[in-house]
Symmetry: C2
Subunit: 323 residues, 2 copies
């Protein structure tokens, strides 16, 4: 079992590889090698299977082709520039997100008889407002960002190439991942993590939207679980509709803060400053709030069922188990 991870230095990539190191096998086979690639060279320590690291640009055809020439059995394609950057830099967004995905698919298609499982990180950004109260699995793709458009194009190609037998793809529309570890960032969705992570660490955090904002979330631990399940599931179980909205938790910011209070007390909650930011408010207004992710759930993809669990996962995975 040889594995290639594109986007290995990102949060999900890093946690996925650490998880693979800890379990040592995938699809019932011992992992014999893993290639971890990103735009910056990732670093991993494994006392089990060997890990190759490299860095470069997924938009460079030869770079991607070179990695695929080793014919990995499973490819996790998590490499992308984020929504805000793809919106600000139109050319770069299409070059990396559409072009990079095209390069990967071209490299696989070019190798006859080679049909690896390709796990493709898509996003709920393939959907744009207006929405029904809960978005069903058969709701149309209506992205309102270039990022969402690029992800949706990748989904369509993944499904068609799978149908034609050129690869064996599974696309995952990931919820917003909360609680992201690390420092606060400028992503419009950053506050969903900031308002939990910072207060837990004794720091102040800004809430730029009102407490009745609802959003669709899952923990980093769930995101890793989605990737592993996507690598292992029998493709015939999924059928031709290979892109799946992942399960998550539809929860309001107010409910998130209540959960923070239950887990870490009123003093943690008091560290949140409500400072409305109209730009972020208007961006978040166009985001999906709630899904009915029936297909993915029936196919064995599992997310948290309460926000208390999501906070607890953060405390266990990032804070050594206690606050």
């Amino acid at each position: 079992m040889k594995i290639l991870v594109l986007g290995a230095a990102g949060m999900v990539g890093r946690k996925l590889i650490e998880h693979l190191i800890s379990i040592g096998s995938l699809r019932g086979e011992k992992i014999t090698g893993l290639h971890a690639f990103d735009v910056v060279e990732p670093a991993f320590e494994s006392d089990g299977f060997p890990i190759t690291v490299s860095h470069g640009d997924v938009a460079d055809k030869a770079t991607v082709d070179g990695m695929v020439s080793a014919k990995p059995d499973v490819i996790f394609h998590l490499a992308a520039i984020v929504s805000g950057e793809a919106e600000a830099d139109f050319d770069k967004g299409y070059r990396i997100n559409q072009g990079g995905t095209q390069n990967l698919f071209d490299a696989v298609v070019a190798r006859e008889g080679y049909t690896p499982r390709v796990v493709y990180a898509s996003s709920i950004a393939v959907f744009g407002a207006p929405f029904p109260e809960a978005i069903q699995d058969d709701f149309h793709l209506t992205p309102l960002t270039s990022y969402g458009t690029q992800k949706a194009i990748g989904e369509l190609l993944l499904a068609d190439l799978t149908r034609k037998g050129h690869l064996d793809g599974v696309g995952l529309r990931l919820p917003t991942i909360v609680v992201r570890p690390g420092k606060p960032n400028l992503a419009a969705s950053g506050f969903f993590s900031n308002i939990i992570r910072e207060p837990l660490a004794g720091k102040r955090a800004v809430l730029p939207v009102s407490k009745d904002v609802m959003h669709w979330m899952a923990s980093p631990r769930s995101a890793v679980g989605f990737c592993v399940r996507a690598a292992e599931i029998d493709g015939t179980e999924i059928g031709p509709r290979r892109n799946l909205t992942m399960p998550g938790l539809a929860i309001t910011v107010g409910e998130m803060i209540e959960a923070l209070g239950r887990v870490a007390g009123a003093e943690a909650v008091a560290r949140i400053d409500e400072v409305r930011d109209d730009t972020i408010v208007s961006i978040v207004d166009n985001w999906p709030r709630k899904f009915h992710a029936a297909r993915a759930q029936s196919l064995g993809f599992v997310a948290e069922s309460s926000f208390d669990e999501i906070i607890q996962a953060h405390i266990e995975d990032e804070l050594g188990g206690s606050i």
Copy 2:
């Protein structure tokens, strides 16, 4: 008003240009020139505005860029290879249908401050089975052919480029166009036209599926009307969801044949030979049968409301008004 038509030698392109010649204006402006392009050089006679004809490959970037450099006000992008060919020749399908569309969009985006109305011919092939009884406007894109995938990718790009102000696009998911003039062809959908056109001309035709097969159809005349309406409609009326399922008629083969009997008598009906073709049966099984095209209808797109009208349009437009 300068116009560019890609795919000008196809059935819809030809009829659209003939119609534009007859009306002489578009969007309330006198047409001052039209460039008609296709893989084979089209031929038109106009005693009004000048028509330039040329031929070439839409997959050739420079060819497309050269045509766009004249900055036409309205571009009709009807150029594509058909479903069967795109399925048989994977590379050619992506090169022409995805690549050609990309070339057109790139050429427009490259010219700052130039935002032409782009009317893009998509197809109900962006949808794949299983379907609900009637497909609503918010049903997801689930193509089961490479052609449908390529059309869906074009739709996504069209919407994103419109949102970003790079062009002003309207995508039309065309029904199957019936009655196609000309000779019987080998397209899987060909029989829908053959069983009407051939008996009207005193010739025999083969029906390869059962009479209870239902499908979504509109006349060539309606297809031209859709293109003109798409060129003229105010984009703000449409909003960001720029791709519209066109209205049509959901009708069974049996009902088509009954209409033929009403218009042309029992002897025309007797010229249809039922010879089941399992390959065609299985292809047609995956095609959409019926839509609820509410958005397009509310935006002023109009199709026939009976199959008698569709036959009548064929008799008027192709047979000189009588049989």
